[in-house]
């Protein structure tokens, strides 16, 4: 029992402490509207972080995720321009864009042997260029109600929890699917083998290119879904996705994922995203100005990696 506790990822403990602190400072947080709002706001970053985890576990980075969020929001609002009947087609089209972006990223890494940080940096610049060209630099069009449903709608009058935002349901479903794929299928084993040691994985028969395509596609699809949620509750703007890729990487790292290869788990990554969001909430309650968020994000990012490294060395893994 004690051994199990010691082996437990400290991110869960940190999350618990943060929740307690927030609850003491702001009892509102204990009410269903309080914690459900919190989860709703954390949903996009949690989804993005789990998508990013696929790429991180494959041994790479996806810096293009934030730009893809922006493109999703801008593109959907221009394509739809309030036309509710087109919503499903546009969502499908955007998911198609996501699959394409992820595949291109993976092929550039696999076939052209470009390091993923440069490949996805190029994709980030390209995608934000496309979003700006398409929109002319300012938000255009608008999103119909049924598109914004996913990010904004609350299911009310439920027993026990009273309200349930649709964004939270989306988060649970997406994260559950991504958890299953990573931890309960052969694909997940191949992915982690590839991140650990690509040469050994290749010799063991792992199809590296295919595995990488799926990993990058998962990251891009999660970016599109995060974009749909953000378009729903934050509305249309040209900088909605700025910096989200770094927040996603931070969340995965807080959850204990190792950069350049392998071993991050979906559960800990979601906890990492919640820690990040809880930290922002706490700073907000304490009345710190927004820039302090950056300082804190930077410090916890570094300390998370330091602590993870220390634990790894001590356990001899």
């Amino acid at each position: 029992m004690m051994d199990r506790l010691k082996q437990m990822n400290p991110v869960f403990l940190v999350l618990l402490l943060l929740f307690v602190a927030i609850a003491i400072l702001s009892p509102y947080f204990l009410q269903p509207t309080g914690y459900m709002n919190f989860l709703k706001r954390a949903a996009p970053i949690a989804i993005l972080a789990v998508g990013q985890l696929y790429v991180i576990n494959s041994g790479g980075f996806d810096l293009s995720a934030g730009a893809l969020v922006t493109l999703t929001v801008i593109g959907s609002s221009i394509l739809l321009d309030g036309e509710a009947s087109a919503t499903w087609w546009v969502i499908l089209a955007m998911l198609g864009v996501g699959v394409t972006v992820g595949t291109v990223n993976a092929l550039v890494v696999s076939w052209l042997r470009v390091p993923s940080i440069i490949a996805t940096l190029g994709m980030m610049i390209t995608l934000s260029g496309i979003a700006l060209t398409w929109s002319g630099g300012a938000p255009r069009g608008y999103l119909p109600e049924n598109f914004r449903f996913f990010g904004r709608f609350l299911i009310k009058d439920l027993p026990l929890i009273k309200i349930l935002p649709v964004a939270v349901i989306v988060m649970i479903v997406v994260c559950a699917l991504l958890w299953w794929l990573m931890h309960r299928t052969n694909y997940g084993k191949r992915l982690i083998a590839m991140g650990d040691n690509p040469k050994a994985a290749l010799l063991a028969g792992v199809p590296l290119t295919q595995t990488r395509i799926v990993a990058f596609a998962m990251s891009s699809i999660s970016a599109v879904i995060a974009g749909i949620l953000l378009g729903g509750f934050a509305g249309v703007s040209t900088d909605v996705g700025v910096g989200l890729e770094l927040q996603a990487i931070t969340a995965a790292v807080i959850g204990g994922a190792q950069l350049l290869g392998g071993r991050g788990t979906v559960g800990a990554t979601i906890a990492g995203a919640l820690v990040l969001q809880a930290m922002f909430t706490l700073l907000n309650i304490l009345g710190f100005p927004k820039p302090v968020r950056d300082v804190v994000q930077g410090l916890i990012l570094i300390s998370a990696v330091v602590i993870a490294g220390y634990r790894r060395r001590r356990s001899g893994g």
Partner: protein, 321 residues
């Protein structure tokens, strides 16, 4: 070292890329009938528009040569510009203290980056990203607009000319020469190549690799602060967003890599980086001559960065992360 190419060859590929870019530039100028831009002065002027990027990228070359990377340079540039211009506050007698203070900040930030990376074994991307967030947060908490003022005497750095050539351009070329001499002819310089090429071998050969890594990071950060001082001189004041607006972190990495320095460390050099900066400004000028829309320009830029790196990657058949 098995993987190291002869050094005279590593410079060749960016040079060829540069020639191609010049050829396209000339071709577009002739085709659109804008031949008045085809003077040697103009070509040199191209570099003059990217001084800040050039200074930053020379520093970034050191970080990348030891197989590290520095994402904190853009925010450090903002800190340097704001700090420099606040200390000067338009008073010429405060120029020296301001410069010393700003360079000292560069040394400290580089030391911290290097120590986090070597002592705590934190991945350099994470260490410098964390540093970037901390710097930006501290800066935005204290300033939200242009701060201080740069005296006329200090504006010479950006606007002064000697014999028709701008001082800043001479400075950039001088800095590159100094960096090249350091890397090519000093023991510390060859250690940087050894540690970047194969840290384990360097350690076994008795090198104190941590010192080399820290040194490279200090050089990188100091260069970024110099770039910040240059921008303060050019804008006549420092603002907390100038580094981020210039995207100097990612752009400096891009030009270093386009200049033929391998992200895996140990191969490349500062002349390649300078060529990378020229290639970048040439691309910009080509788009301007051809009248390409500003946003479409960005799309092409993304594609070109990836394509250039792909060309190098195809040449060396190593698997990189």
């Amino acid at each position: 070292m098995k993987f190291q190419r002869p050094r005279n060859l590593t410079g060749l590929a960016p040079f060829l890329l540069l020639l191609v870019a010049v050829a396209i530039y000339v071709g577009v100028a002739v085709a659109t009938g804008q031949t008045q831009y085809l003077t040697a002065e103009n070509l040199l002027g191209l570099l003059g528009r990217s001084i800040a990027l050039g200074i930053t990228a020379v520093g970034q070359t050191f970080a990348i040569l030891i197989a590290s990377i520095d994402l904190s340079v853009a925010n450090l540039i903002s800190v340097a510009a704001v700090l420099g211009s606040s200390i000067m506050s338009g008073d010429p007698s405060m120029m020296l203290p301001a410069i010393v203070a700003v360079l000292a900040v560069g040394v400290v930030v580089g030391l911290i980056n290097g120590l986090i990376i070597t002592q705590f074994e934190v991945n350099p991307l994470i260490a410098t990203l964390g540093m970037a967030l901390v710097l930006q947060g501290l800066l935005s908490a204290a300033f939200n607009n242009f701060a201080g003022e740069v005296p006329e005497e200090f504006q010479v750095f950006a606007y002064g000319q000697v014999g028709g050539v701008s001082i800043s351009l001479i400075f950039l070329i001088g800095l590159t020469v100094a960096a090249w001499v350091f890397l090519r002819f000093t023991r510390a310089g060859s250690k940087i190549y050894s540690v970047g090429g194969n840290p384990d071998a360097a350690k076994l050969a008795g090198m104190r690799t941590t010192r080399v890594v820290i040194l490279a990071h200090v050089i990188c950060s100091v260069c970024a602060t110099i770039a910040g001082l240059y921008l303060a001189s050019r804008l006549r004041s420092g603002a907390p967003w100038i580094g981020r607006d210039g995207v100097y972190d990612l752009e400096s990495i891009a030009v270093v890599v386009i200049g033929g320095t391998a992200l895996s460390g140990g191969r490349g050099g500062v002349w390649g980086t300078l060529m990378g900066v020229m290639i970048f400004s040439l691309i910009d000028s080509i788009f301007n001559l051809a009248g390409v829309d500003a946003f479409a320009k960005q799309i092409l830029r993304g594609v070109i960065i990836v394509a250039a790196v792909a060309i190098y990657a195809m040449r060396s058949r190593r698997i990189e992360a």
